[in-house]
């Protein structure tokens, strides 16, 4: 994909689909390295399935026989000399602590590094699409941290849905302000 933010959206959608109550998206940047982690507490996967998801001919969709979200993220990381991994605990095996961690690291100075792109838009799209599940987004770079925790917002908002237009607009502005502050 032309932007990593689209990969993030795609993988986080898998987390929601896996029934996650909380999906954590963390981006950790140094001058050299960008590390992306998507951590969920969804139903997880068996060992066999974990092996299969990096194969593009594996998909949970029934409408087509190829699934490219995870394979393309892996490719994007590896073509910068970075790495990719998935660790998962299935709810069948692990009753209390189950879920999936997708990690990808990218060498930012490699010519084939895919730019991060509009990550604010990915985060707001996720929240708008799934207002009843929680997301914790953190992006740290040079010691600065941009953060959004929908659990905190939910406490303040009470009965108002996170999917409301005004709430989404506010979240968008809130994230943009934080980015502006850190330049």
């Amino acid at each position: 994909m032309k932007e990593l933010s689209l990969n993030i959206l795609d993988v986080a959608e898998n987390s929601v689909k896996a029934g996650a109550a909380l999906t954590q998206i963390s981006i950790d940047e140094t001058d050299e390295l960008l590390t992306l982690k998507i951590i969920d507490d969804g139903c997880g996967m068996s060992e066999e399935t974990v092996k299969a998801v990096t194969d593009p001919f594996y998909t949970t969709r029934t409408t087509r026989k190829v699934g490219l979200g995870v394979p393309l993220l892996k490719l994007a990381a590896e073509q910068t000399g970075g790495s990719f991994s998935i660790v998962s605990k299935s709810s069948e095996q692990y009753k209390s602590e189950h879920g999936t961690v997708v990690s990808a690291s990218f060498y930012k100075n490699h010519l084939d590094f895919t730019p991060l792109g509009d990550v604010v838009s990915s985060v707001t799209t996720l929240i708008q699409g799934h207002p009843d599940t929680d997301f914790l987004f953190t992006h740290s770079f040079n010691g600065n941290v941009v953060k959004l925790d929908t659990r905190e917002l939910r406490e303040v908002l009470g009965d108002v849905s996170l999917g409301e237009y005004d709430v989404i607009k506010w979240i968008e502005e809130y994230l943009k302000e934080q980015y502006d502050q850190f330049g």
Partner: protein
């Protein structure tokens, strides 16, 4: 024109051709797989320098008639097996993408 005829007329090496009778119509050049996935037309010849398993998946998804690997890029045996199993025709050209495409002019 059929894939098998195109390969022989243009002098492309055949890496695998499970469906040589497939008709080719038009061509597309691209290496960013997610981009190609949404844009390469069905039945076209797709010219690329990428050579991982995702190429086979995109070719299958976009339903192109064949993949032409340019610049002498090749696939390892395992991937050729996968392409054969998935019914994806893969040809190989020693020329860069543009020159490979000019070989197709008037034929597809």
């Amino acid at each position: 024109m059929k894939v098998v005829e195109l390969a022989s007329l243009c002098g492309f090496e055949v890496l695998c051709m499970p469906d040589g009778d497939r008709q080719v119509s038009g061509a597309y050049i691209g290496d960013l797989l997610s981009w190609v996935m949404g844009r390469a037309r069905a039945d076209s010849a797709w010219i690329t320098i990428m050579s991982n398993v995702n190429v086979i998946a995109v070719a299958s998804l976009a339903d192109v008639a064949c993949v032409i690997l340019a610049e002498g890029v090749t696939l390892d045996d395992e991937l050729i097996k996968t392409a054969t199993a998935k019914g994806v025709n893969i040809l190989k050209s020693e020329l860069p993408a543009y020159e490979t495409a000019t070989e197709l002019v008037g034929k597809v």
